[in-house]
Amino acid sequence: MSDDHIVKSYDEELHIINDAIVQMGSLTESLLEDSMNAITKMDKDSVSKIVESDKKINKFRASIDEQIMTLLVKRSPVAIDLRLAISTLKISQDLERIGDLAKGNAKKILPLPEDDLPPEMLNSMRRLGEAVQKQIKLSLDSYLERSTEKAIQVVKDDEQVNDLTKISIKEVLDFLAKDKKNLEFATNLLFVSKNLERAGDHITRIAENVYYLISGDYPKKNK
């Protein structure tokens, strides 16, 4: 018994969809990294490049939607193929949202001063960003390797992201408390922290969908 379909073009279509998710994932991972670098280094010049990358991610999403629709019409997929179609659709949606959040974060630095920002605050934000970047890498690995263990780890790691978000928000509020004129900057930075947390939620959903794709079930919450 082989893992290939009798109809070869069906396999080709599935491979193309799989590859598109992998490419879209790696683009989103890079975008998140670039966005974090822009924030922690206050590199405003890189923002336009980030905006362009996000457009590419959006195009992937549209193309994957189209391909899944065609797959459903042509193949009436069932079992593992059906689960691939459904979970891929959801994963591409989450990747697109992560891209939007990363782009949004990068744009948030534009009105900020290039120095003067408290290093503790940037450090806490960097730590949060690193946790989210680690999370997206693991999540994409779980998809690529079809690993339920890695998918579960991503879900577990989300708690750490939430904790780091709280710390980061506290640092921003301290920054605000120091001087009322920091209000506009602080508001932007609050959004950055919150967006990173939300990106973490999307990454968690990706892992949950990878788990579903593999096992036909969603991971049980340990609560």
């Binding site: 018994m1 893992d3 290939d4 069906y10 069932v78 079992a79 059906l82 689960r83 036909g216």
Partner: protein, 254 residues
């Protein structure tokens, strides 16, 4: 959900001469549900279907061991009245096979020979009710005396279902009932199957995965004479337990 087993197959083996066609089939078919049997050609699903009303008896070289219980009664026990059994277990075939008689007589034939109708009025009622249940009445009520063979393929198949219903069966066996029909006629039969399941227990053999997924509550997958997996249809088509089932339904079978 409270489910009652209508048919229980226990250790059923079937041989055609020296060739074993079914190996130790154990399964349950629930009352008022549609059970689909799927599998590649020659896997034994039709052979099993025909065990349920002992249609295999007419094949000389066919030997069956094990038990098939209907309502707890073994239909292969000695002395079982096969005619009575088939009154209880109706059958619809792949190719519509109306008798070369009028539409009316196609339906009236069964009730007549089984002595179900006492008089013409009762017989008229049975014909009308059966055709209504088979969703054919409105299309044929004005031409009951015309030959059944003059109907379209889809109508002929519904006529055969009406004929099966006319003798008040409890179980209806369908052997690829839509494989000779166009999509519209198929949809009508599927709609009919859906409406019939509240009154009957239905077992359908089909080569269409999509049809099994659409019409049945439970699905059994046969391969090389063995029942590989039987489960809720939803489970089979979303996440089957057995790799062989998955390979078959997704079109990977090598």
């Amino acid at each position: 959900m409270n489910r009652e087993a209508k048919v229980i197959s226990k250790n059923v083996d079937v041989f055609y001469g020296n060739k074993q066609a079914l190996f130790d089939i154990n399964l349950e078919i629930f009352k008022n549900e549609v059970t689909a049997l799927i599998g590649p050609s020659g896997c034994g699903k039709s052979t099993f279907l025909r065990c349920i009303n002992r249609m295999n008896d007419v094949i000389d070289i066919c030997k069956i061991s094990g038990e098939i219980e209907i309502d707890g009664f073994n239909i292969y026990k000695q002395g079982v009245d096969v005619v009575r059994l088939r009154e209880k277990v109706g059958m619809v075939f792949q190719k519509p096979n109306p008798f070369p008689k009028s539409i009316y007589d196609n339906i009236a034939y069964g009730p007549n020979i089984h002595g179900i109708a006492q008089n013409k009025q009762e017989l008229d009622e049975i014909v009308e009710n059966s055709l209504k249940k088979a969703a054919l009445w409105n299309e044929v009520k004005d031409r009951l005396n015309e030959p059944g063979t003059g109907l379209s393929g889809g109508q002929q198949q519904r006529l055969c279902i009406a004929r099966a219903i006319s003798i008040n069966p409890e179980i209806i066996l369908m052997d690829e009932p839509c494989s000779a029909l166009d999509p519209i006629a198929t949809a009508k039969i599927e709609e009919l199957i859906d409406s019939l399941k509240s009154s009957y227990t239905i077992v359908i053999v089909t080569h269409s995965m999509a049809q099994a997924a659409r019409v049945s509550q439970r699905t059994g997958f046969f391969h090389l004479g063995k029942l590989i997996e039987m489960d809720e249809t939803d489970k089979i088509f979303k996440n089957p337990n057995n790799k062989m089932t998955q390979d078959y339904i997704t079109g990977r079978f090598g």
